[in-house]
């Protein structure tokens, strides 16, 4: 068996729960950020840029680069690498500014 991050540190999460990403159900471990849940599911992009519409995801991993912005429960521009995943969160790919509904 090849190692995994979990086999390396041992133990088990105190809870697991579901969240939704673009209609897909993902399993989160208690204590993970939204970005960690997405990486864990093999998802590396959850935003498109304002000009080129290019896909982006987590880059710096520590809250400095703002590339991992995402819409959480309808609120855009949340840093996925910092925001903890909570039970029942609905996460959606953020397109551009995330304020398309404003029509500006």
């Amino acid at each position: 068996m090849s190692p995994t991050p979990r086999t390396l540190v041992g133990g088990a999460p105190s809870a697991t729960y579901l969240l939704r990403f673009d209609g897909r159900e993902l399993t989160a471990q208690a204590g993970q950020s939204i970005a960690a849940v997405l990486w864990g599911a093999g998802i590396l992009a959850w935003r498109t840029t304002r000009q080129g519409g290019a896909p982006r995801g987590a880059f710096c991993g520590i809250g400095s680069c703002y590339d991992c912005l995402v819409t959480v429960n309808g609120r855009p521009n949340q840093r996925a690498c910092l925001v903890p995943a909570r039970p029942g969160d609905t996460v959606t790919t953020q397109e551009g500014t995330g304020h398309a509904e404003l029509g500006v």
């Binding site: 896909p55 710096c60 680069c65 690498c81």
Partner: protein
């Protein structure tokens, strides 16, 4: 929980940052009788170096992801004991965005919490220690904005805190000793690492033999990382760089080329390495905006960045403001712990133990040797194409920056920014700053960010009017 100490008199010392330097300073200062407020942007103490999973993840052996964990564990235990005794007020999840003078004391403005729970907080203290650490230096290349191209420190941070990997086959590239640690961690956690691609030559250290020989512990650390790579069959390619990442929805392969001494890619040496992720970084940059906002003097360092000018007891050029760790020049966790202890002694008005001062001098000499060996060569811009995005936030290409320099006469990063918007986005130039300065033919400039993180307008609106 109140956001400031409940006593009417301000605490003796506020420390910004609970990484190695801030944490060591806090427990040392409290042990010397000072009342301390320790304020940190993170949820848990330890900073980036000792970043570890949240309690909910239930990791039994967090130390498996760390080098020198006991140095952290001891100080964390001391922090909890001082907190219990009321000597330290520890405020996690508080991002300080400005420090301003307030009579004989200082006021620190912070955003507390994240997302919907954000609130404004103001703290006061008679002295301030800035232990704000560093962030990763990035040099752009074609394809670096593709998903699964991540910071080397970022991959490490996501692994240490979230127990996740960016891919199954991860190339590690850039420059600096962090790459060896990152490759070792990723491989230990189950990723295949086909190569560590290092732009410098480790033989460059040989030019600094005295500094190396005075630091046998540091050499031992390097040997540990080196043997971990050998054991896991990871190739270390020195004097090489990833000059392009390929893929559409995510990275699928990288081009690696040999470099000359100035980091210019050598024609005819390119080859492709398949991968599903790339972890890249070119050393670290001191995070100085709180200090430069106060007018603290800076100095150029051997690695091509700017650091704070500090005296032997960690004083900045501004009376009452102190700093320790990476802000004084990139030097690693051991040095940061030590400088935190030195600063605490000096702030408490105690004589700094001579042994601490000697070790600091030795480790600073090593840091300078390391910095010189990994300083980016001028030729790296040779791997940028005109259509390569340099500013990730504002999607400004190298071509537009070159046009601003060659045709519109920009000679520094600030003018390039005004002409192209590079560095004007969310990250405030942290990701593209060194690259834009290099393209403009400019040296590194001190961080100028009046607010060190985005602050909701309602927080600014709630500020009491200034007295004068």
């Amino acid at each position: 929980m109140p956001s400031s100490a409940s006593d009417t008199a301000p605490p003796d010392l506020a420390i910004v940052g609970a990484g190695p330097a801030g944490l060591a300073a806090a427990v040392t200062a409290a042990g010397l009788g000072l009342r301390v407020t320790l304020v940190d942007a993170g949820e848990r103490p330890g900073g980036q170096y000792y970043r570890h999973p949240a309690p909910g993840l239930g990791a039994e052996r967090p130390e498996a992801l760390h080098h020198g964990w006991s140095a952290f564990a001891e100080r964390e235990a001391a922090l909890r004991a001082h907190e219990e005794a009321g000597r330290i007020t520890y405020l996690p999840a508080h991002h300080v965005w400005a420090v301003v003078p307030d009579g004989d004391a200082w006021t620190l403005h912070a955003v507390a919490g994240t997302g919907p729970d954000e609130a404004a907080a103001a703290l006061h203290a008679r002295a301030v220690l800035l232990a704000t650490g560093s962030y990763e230096r990035q040099l752009p290349f074609p394809g670096w904005t593709l998903p699964a191209v991540v910071g080397a420190g970022g991959a490490q941070a996501m692994l240490k805190s979230g127990l996740v990997l960016p891919g199954k086959r991860v190339v590690v590239a850039g420059s600096g000793p962090l790459l060896l640690a990152v490759a070792g961690s990723l491989a230990a956690a189950g990723a295949r690492v086909p190569a560590v691609v290092e732009a410098a030559a480790y033989s460059a250290y040989a030019g600094h033999l005295p500094a190396l020989l005075r630091n046998p512990g540091k050499l031992g650390e390097a040997a540990t990382y080196g043997s971990a790579l050998l054991r896991r069959h990871i190739r270390l390619l020195t004097r090489h760089a990833v000059t392009e990442a390929h893929g559409t929805d995510r990275v699928e392969a990288v081009t690696v080329a040999r470099l000359d001494r100035d980091w210019r890619p050598l024609p005819g040496t390119a080859r492709r390495i398949p991968c599903d992720a790339l972890a890249v970084g070119h050393g670290l940059v001191p995070q100085l905006e709180l200090a430069t906002g106060l007018g603290c003097a800076t100095r150029p360092t051997a690695d091509g960045t700017l650091a704070l000018a500090l005296d032997a007891e960690q004083r900045t050029s501004v009376a009452g403001i102190w700093s320790a760790g990476e802000t004084g020049g990139i030097g690693g966790a051991q040095l940061a712990l030590l400088e935190g202890e030195i600063a605490a002694h000096a702030i408490a008005g105690r004589t700094v133990p001579a042994a601490l001062a000697r070790r600091r001098a030795r480790l600073r000499a090593f840091a300078a040797a390391m910095g010189a060996a990994h300083r980016p060569g001028d030729g790296w811009t040779g791997w940028l194409r005109d259509d390569t995005d340099v500013c990730r936030c504002e999607e400004v290409t190298a071509g537009r920056i070159r046009e601003a320099v060659d045709e519109l006469g920009a000679r520094d990063a600030r003018t390039v920014k005004l002409l192209t918007r590079s560095g004007m986005g969310w990250c405030q130039g942290r990701m593209c700053g060194p690259a834009v300065a290099a393209l403009a033919g400019d040296g590194p400039a001190p961080d100028r960010r009046p607010l060190s993180c985005p602050v909701p307008l309602r927080h600014l609106a709630q500020l009491p009017p200034a007295d004068g």
